[in-house]
């Protein structure tokens, strides 16, 4: 079975390590914050100028001056800090954030990512995504493995305008966890109940399948 949004978030959370500073994109990545293990501290960076983002506020705690990068009202945890956008992206561009998780439209086996623009259709802008993919060594892209019509999103070459070139090393889809190495996808884990054949069929870019591909634990 393909992973649900919650299961994707759970699997993302398995990448967290104690003491990690993490930037989570809008959508599924943000959900991963709900699955931080109890014996672990992870601090969330919001690129609009907050390190140490907490949960959504109680109704009476709402503060228009305290939002996240998705413009949602949020809170701060103890030990949080606030700063300007230049400092925030100094942190990101300078490689000080330990893990970045974000969504995409397409990823290819060169590590290219397209996530911000569908020409003639969707022109919203890249926000902080280009800085995030250029600044982080450790990035996980989360997305569905294929479009609703069954077109693979894991390509030999991205077809949409790129957000970043040769910067993605790990992709988590609803079907599989894959690394990108030497111009190939490498199948690391499959979603529970999903066969290797199904993943091969829905992966358009070159794919290496090790002898043993364990099921994810979610």
């Amino acid at each position: 079975m393909a992973l649900t949004r919650e299961q994707l978030a759970q699997r993302v959370a398995q990448e967290f390590q104690d003491g990690y500073y993490v930037n989570l994109g809008i959508g599924i990545p943000t959900l991963a914050a709900n699955y931080i293990p109890d014996d672990m501290q992870v601090m969330l960076q919001s690129e609009n100028g907050l390190l140490g983002m907490g949960p959504f506020p109680l109704d009476e705690e709402i503060d228009a001056d305290l939002i996240n990068a998705g413009k949602q009202t949020v809170t701060m945890i103890e030990g949080a800090s606030l700063f300007c956008s230049a400092q925030s992206f100094a942190m990101i561009r300078g490689g000080h954030v330990d893990l970045t998780v974000l969504g995409a439209f397409e990823v290819d086996c060169q590590g290219n990512i397209a996530s911000y623009m569908i020409p003639g259709k969707l022109i919203k802008g890249m926000g902080g995504a280009m800085d995030l993919v250029a600044g982080a060594d450790n990035i996980i892209v989360t997305m569905t493995h294929a479009s609703k019509s069954g077109q693979s999103k894991l390509l030999s070459q991205c077809t949409l305008p790129l957000t970043g070139k040769n910067c993605i090393r790990r992709v988590l889809t609803d079907l599989a966890l894959m690394d990108i190495e030497g111009g190939k996808f490498i199948l690391r884990e499959r979603a529970p109940g999903v066969s290797v054949e199904e993943i091969i069929n829905l992966t358009s870019g070159e794919l290496t399948v090790p002898d043993h591909v364990p099921e994810m634990t979610v």
Binding site: L50, P57, A64, D65, I67, K71, A86, G127, M130
Partner: protein, 233 residues
């Protein structure tokens, strides 16, 4: 002897000298920390042909969205413009020129504009449409593109508290682009919630020194929330 007193008492005075076809650098992220009354004054003045650098373009009827209604903006330099139907319509029709700039690059371009750095290299945007036509250079085996500084005839920004000399403190994530935007304006106009007497602010706690501020005005703010999200008690 006016000395360093930057306070003006009307929004008209705050934006005196702003003319058609000028460039404005604006602070704010979404509708958070935007100079909302200064934007309203630009609408009232009817200044047109403006180039505005701001992370976002407001929403319909709020923030910079107000200036789109009257077609006062000729060109937007922004990182994310996804919340504004009017914006999309004007962009698609070609009435509005748009230069999409990555958020961190935009912040750094404003900082550079204020800091006398004419250009810098960044990996952000290399190999993407943002890098097209820009110089590429390798440092330590990695590719970077050259980005030039941004500065404006005016900067408009919002801070929380100021003393009369224009020393500024910001509040929470309403800080965002405001400090850099201010440094990048030939005439930097800042509106604040509270102006205190000189000597009331701890010099160690000032986020941006008054040297960057030309005009200061106290206003009242709507502070519209874009995405009101709460948890249950």
């Amino acid at each position: 002897m006016s000395g360093f007193d930057k306070v003006v008492t009307s929004y008209e005075e705050a934006l005196e000298g702003l003319e058609d076809n000028m460039t404005i650098i604006a602070g704010g992220f979404g509708l958070c920390g935007i100079p909302e009354n200064l934007i309203k004054e630009i609408k009232r003045k009817g200044t047109t042909g403006l180039t505005i650098a701001s992370n976002n373009a407001g929403v319909d009827g709020k923030g910079l969205g107000l200036l789109l209604e009257e077609k006062q903006i000729k060109k937007m330099i922004a990182s994310y413009v996804g919340e504004n139907a009017l914006f999309e319509a004007q962009m698609m029709s070609g009435e509005l020129e748009v230069e999409l700039t990555p958020q961190g690059t935009l912040a750094e371009k404003m900082r550079a504009g204020g800091a006398g750095i004419p250009a810098f290299y960044t990996a952000t945007g290399y190999g993407t449409p943002v890098g097209e036509g820009k110089e590429v250079r390798e440092f330590n085996g990695r590719h970077y593109i050259l980005e030039e500084a941004l500065s404006g005839d005016f900067a408009i920004a919002k801070a929380w508290k100021a003393d009369r000399y224009g020393n500024l403190m910001f509040r929470k994530t309403a800080r965002n682009f405001n400090p850099m935007a201010i440094t990048a304006g030939k005439i930097a106009v800042v509106e604040v919630e509270e102006i205190v007497e000189v000597g009331q602010l701890d010099p160690d706690e000032i986020h941006l020194p008054g040297i960057y501020v030309n005009r200061l005005i106290q206003g009242t703010f709507e502070k519209t929330i874009e995405q009101r999200t709460v948890r249950k008690a």
